[in-house]
Symmetry: C2
Subunit: 362 residues, 2 copies
């Protein structure tokens, strides 16, 4: 049917026997047009299978109707869900998403920002390794490209769609205290390139202090360790005194339980585990995960709404952090009275805390 080469508004105008200006006015319902030419243009367009070239439009109006979204990785469902939310919200406003991911590499963050701005995105929604230190983000802003953060705490004059990680972590501390825990740990990826993880740790530490608990032990593991139950078990064995561990995300929390089982520890009897994020799967486990539930999709949507407001020329206020819920689950309970004995009996004899470089006290 349609010729394989592009149909332009010129072709439509020619077929309708009018000028391109009229055709444009009809097709955009802008400006006054007679019923007669309206009819002719519409028929011509339909017959030709015409559709606008977004490129031509963008060039002329210098609005691309595209927004750039930068996240560390879509392989992390938390970000993927957020992007899904962003996308839904933007779609309703006629915008598309150009998506880039940095794989947690600051250099890639900068590069991606460069590419996105070259593509003339109308706005930016970003989650970066270090937004405040990013010259690329600064450059985008000096070019008057509106930008909002996602997941980060608001900073440097940028609005952000986020949850209050520190407050959520304090709530976890409260719940641990209420269950009777005194010696807690915080499990995170080493070299964590996530300021969210850091915020959770400081919040947790602060909460513990307020409640008169010992400062939590920071247990850092590499990605490789986290993926290997054995390795994780060895690291865990180096901390026999801990009765509860707050993992910086649900995946770590689940992996941690596996490691605990490897050591013969029963969760939550011998070790309580709390996660973060509230991924769906956590509900469906035999022993539902105790975690802090957040709503990444809502975060994505809020970021999109903020950006849309800015694109409309408004100057929205920084909204309150999105709510989080402590989801009780079944992996946090009072520590068993006799747990120390159990623990000593099953602890791997090869564990030497002093030699373990991932052990840090704060």
């Amino acid at each position: 049917m349609a010729r394989s080469s592009k149909i332009t508004i010129r072709d439509v105008a020619a077929r309708a026997g009018c000028g391109v200006a009229t055709a444009s006015r009809v097709l955009n319902r802008s400006g006054a047009t007679s019923a007669d030419s309206r009819e002719r243009v519409e028929r011509a367009a339909a017959e030709l299978g015409f559709s606008f070239s977004a490129i031509g439009r963008a060039l002329q109006s210098s609005r691309s109707m595209t927004v750039g979204v930068l996240v560390p990785s879509l392989a992390n469902p938390v970000f993927a869900e957020a992007v899904q939310g962003t996308q839904e919200e933007l779609r309703d406003a006629g915008y598309q998403c150009l998506i880039a991911s940095s794989t947690y590499d600051p250099a890639r963050d900068a590069e991606a920002l460069g590419v996105l701005t070259a593509k003339q995105v109308d706005g930016l929604i970003v989650t970066m390794v270090a937004p405040e230190e990013s010259p690329a983000l600064g450059a985008a802003r000096t070019r008057d490209i509106p930008a909002v953060l996602m997941f980060h705490d608001p900073r440097a004059g940028l609005l952000s769609a986020h949850v209050d990680n520190a407050a959520a972590a304090r709530e976890v501390a409260r719940q641990c205290a209420a269950a009777g825990h005194r010696a807690t740990g915080f499990l995170a990826l080493r070299f964590s390139t996530s300021d969210r993880s850091r915020a959770r740790f400081t919040g947790f530490t602060q909460g513990c202090a307020e409640l008169g608990m010992a400062a939590p032990v920071l247990v850092e593991v590499s990605e490789a360790e986290a993926a290997s139950p054995d390795a994780l078990a060895r690291t865990l064995a180096a901390h026999p005194d801990l009765t509860a561990i707050f993992a910086s995300n649900d995946f770590l929390a689940i992996a941690l339980q596996r490691a605990a089982r490897e050591l013969g520890l029963r969760v939550p009897r011998d070790l309580s585990v709390v996660g973060f994020d509230g991924i769906e799967i956590g509900r469906h486990l035999d022993r539902p995960l105790t975690t802090v539930e957040t709503d990444p999709e809502a975060m994505g949507r809020q970021a999109a709404r903020l950006l849309l407001a800015m694109l409309r020329g408004e100057t929205p206020e920084q909204p309150a952090p999105l709510p989080f819920t402590f989801r009780p689950g079944a992996t946090l309970a009072a520590p068993a009275e006799d747990r120390d004995d159990d623990r000593a009996a099953t602890r791997s004899p090869s564990a030497h805390p002093d030699q373990n470089p991932s052990l840090k006290r704060t």
Copy 2:
């Protein structure tokens, strides 16, 4: 520093004291230029903080260096990972991804395709509800926009990056048979808008037939049922005869185990469960999930490579389906001798198979 309004190649040329043609040649390293003007143009560009407008470029070259990616939803990690892979592979070739999701709605599929082609994407990578019935996809192809499928079986002259769902399902049948199961079920979402799920069911049915097993019972549930352990348990209770259930994806498999536990059934003693996809989390469960492991990221990468070849003007062959692995896990085992008694004792009395509309025999 930079003026807030756009810097064009014209500005660079003016500052370098040369014509735009020369500036373009220098900045693109195309055509002959003197060392002198090269130096001047480069300095001017640097001083001005110039960067090309991808829009201007796209308009002139009619190549946008953007490819459209359409998936049902990024909230499904399988698709999110695939997109991540696609993106990585395309990025290395200088392409960006315009991503759209349909939320499993065929109308949205068509709409998204329209928007993507209007944005002048150079190619398309799609996973749709019904690719063969999509006029929008046909329209894109008549406009000479190269397209490749992802997850789907190759069809209608389109190449696809996929796994052989039917073969994988036959392998599951084989494993079930080897474990001694005779009465099996297939758990899927009702009105499943996934031809992959259908392919798995037919493959499983075929495998069962070849191995002399009874045809599997198709157990369909709504999304709501799948999300509610109680509802899923009621449905499961309607099938007391089944000793093994193949779930159409890992999430269903995990939810199913929860439901089984609700009925007092032990997995795998009383009921074996096999999943599909091989999501990471399945490995870390207390009872690692028996499943078919696929590699969505590899699929995304392969789709990208196919498309890139087409964009280079080559006509690649349909590659072999990507490999899958049967991951043994711990949720498939021989059915217990005495399970029928257990089952009868714990079955919910409210279950009336005849009244259950989701029970179908194939």
